[in-house]
Symmetry: C2
Subunit: 357 residues, 2 copies
């Protein structure tokens, strides 16, 4: 229990000895000591500031609000950290906001857990945090609590982010796969597969494939809120089509509801450019992750007003009805292809696109 | 948009082609497809099962409860993943439970975000999940939502875990550094420095240093609840002494309250064995992380009943009053050493013990 004050690196003249490379994350940034405080005070807090976060206690204390809460979490390991249309910060906020929104909740509060790799450029961290803050503002949520850890070189790939989110469940919303009936319509809120392909093409940049594809990463809670405002009672189920893509959601809807689902390939919104990119990479766009698309099951009579509500939002202009549930109870999702063939849509087996979100 | 069903690896005879090494995590476990479902259904869900988690939706829906919420998050990157007295699973649950408890909240719900490295032994994952579940049971909290990502070899060090937690703030509790007054007593709930040193010695195992030191990682919410039940109005502030150790908390208490804090080294509980281990590794035990120790500031007249309440709990038997706030307003924490000297306790500068939690 003896330690001379003089041995503390910060008290020596000049550069702190544990931070020889200015502008980069060092292990000491994660030690819970003075350098951690500096990182939080100078880099993190100014970017995410709000009255609740500013308390800087171990937990955020949230205002009391009546009603049921939705609670969710996701970790983000996308590579590269920045890609056309977004970055890991925007992704981490939007992904958790969307997970809450598709459960019928209005997202309110987000936590942000950072795992940083030694050597990470602090300027990159700043850009990611600015982007997370902008996405939170866009979604109308507050980042109220956080945590920062640092691991050594080769122990994380730049940075990973975990977000958890809290939202208040809307009172007039009741979603469940058990509510699905024959005749219910399946809507997708816009053009598919842009996120996964934009990230993949960014990785392949050096191969010389040029593309203007951008990730669709966006907070969908306002669009979904407008949908509920219009036809809440008629919305039966909702899911965002992230990992596993549209195929993952559609096959899951059929399997878990037990109903047969028929989907018309010609009705699925997709950019021509996206289709080319998928062909070039040998991928089925149905399997490719989206980060700004939601699949909605509605009663048949509500399909048109639902589309109207979605299309009024900037993220839902290309919304379309793509299929209907049938009377057969075989739990299969069948795709009618553009050339008139039929095939069963299966959930992708494994990782066709690693580190996509 | 064409994909023949036959091309799906799972439909081929024999072993799935993307999982050549049974018993280890492969990238495909993180793809959001069938293998992800299998991992969740066979490995994760049976270990953490409860009615809320079983819904398997994007978000957990929590029962409505009146009052203010506490919300917190932490990522865990400890190395090695298993150490004497605990593992990363127990650590991830206890750390978040304790962050809630020291804010005066009764912990209720926990999220669990896993980042797994390709090649991780699934048996190790099972042990970690069993341990997390046991810690949750011990603390009386439910793991209600989760997420699993997989990254490639060399992109995480086995596994990282993020937990976020929700708790209900106790009504009769009011904690704040601004409530600290001269005369207030500072209590530590037991022997310090065991966690950090147990982890460090485990890493040094091959150097032949033998030790029976164990991490103190434990959920403290029941002990803290008993303390509040006894002397709630007299508890002024509380903090768990994790990263940065007891020195980090004590220097922070003095600096942020603006008061002078005098601590008596002879009163700080520490095992003889822990002291030897720290000397051997050249560390000041005051700087070493704990994962089952809390620092409590109480009104002077409440110190004795507070100690009684703490000592009745299995995790608080060695609780002791270690210091008092003084009238001077210099924001310094002064240690009276065992040989009668005086030195200022400073917050550790950086990372003396990397990857300790």
């Amino acid at each position: 229990m003896t330690r001379s004050t003089e041995a503390t690196p910060s008290s020596q003249a000049g550069e702190p000895v544990v931070n020889p490379r200015k502008g980069k994350i060092v292990l000491a940034h994660g030690g819970g000591g003075q350098l951690t405080d500096e990182l939080i005070a100078e880099v993190i807090r100014p970017r995410l500031d709000n009255p609740i976060l500013s308390e800087l206690d171990d937990s955020a204390v949230l205002p009391a609000e009546a009603g049921r809460l939705a609670f969710t979490t996701d970790s983000y390991v996308v590579q590269p950290l920045e890609f056309p249309g977004g970055d890991i910060g925007r992704l981490a906020v939007c992904g958790t906001v969307n997970d809450l929104a598709v459960c019928g909740a209005d997202p309110r509060h987000i936590s942000l857990g950072l795992i940083l790799e030694e050597g990470l450029e602090i300027d990159l961290l700043k850009r990611v945090l600015d982007s997370a803050a902008a996405a939170a503002k866009e979604a109308g949520v507050q980042i109220v609590t956080g945590d920062t850890k640092v691991v050594g070189r080769g122990q994380a790939d730049g940075m990973y982010i975990n977000t958890a989110g809290l939202g208040m469940i809307r009172k007039n919303v009741k979603l469940g796969l058990d509510r699905i009936q024959p005749g219910d319509a399946v809507i997708v809120s816009g053009q598919i597969a842009d996120h996964g392909l934009a990230v993949m093409l960014q990785r392949e940049e050096q191969t010389g494939i040029a593309s203007t594809l951008k990730s669709d990463v966006a907070p969908l809670n306002r669009m979904i809120g407008a949908l509920f405002d219009r036809v809440a009672e008629s919305v039966v189920f909702m899911r965002d089509a992230t990992r596993g893509g549209l195929a993952g959601v559609l096959s899951d809807l059929a399997e878990r509801s037990g109903h047969h689902l028929t989907v018309d390939e010609a009705m699925i919104p997709i950019r021509q450019e996206t289709r080319y990119a998928a062909e070039m990479l040998g991928l089925d766009p149905l399997d490719v992750a989206n980060e700004g698309k939601v699949v909605v099951v509605v009663r048949p009579e509500a399909a048109e007003p639902a589309l109207e509500a979605l299309r009024k939002d900037r993220w839902g202009t290309e919304a379309a009805t793509i299929g209907y549930f049938e009377c057969e109870r075989d739990g299969l999702c069948e795709l009618i292809t553009e050339v008139g063939g039929r095939r069963i849509i299966q959930k992708p087996y494994g990782e066709e696109l690693p580190r996509i979100c």
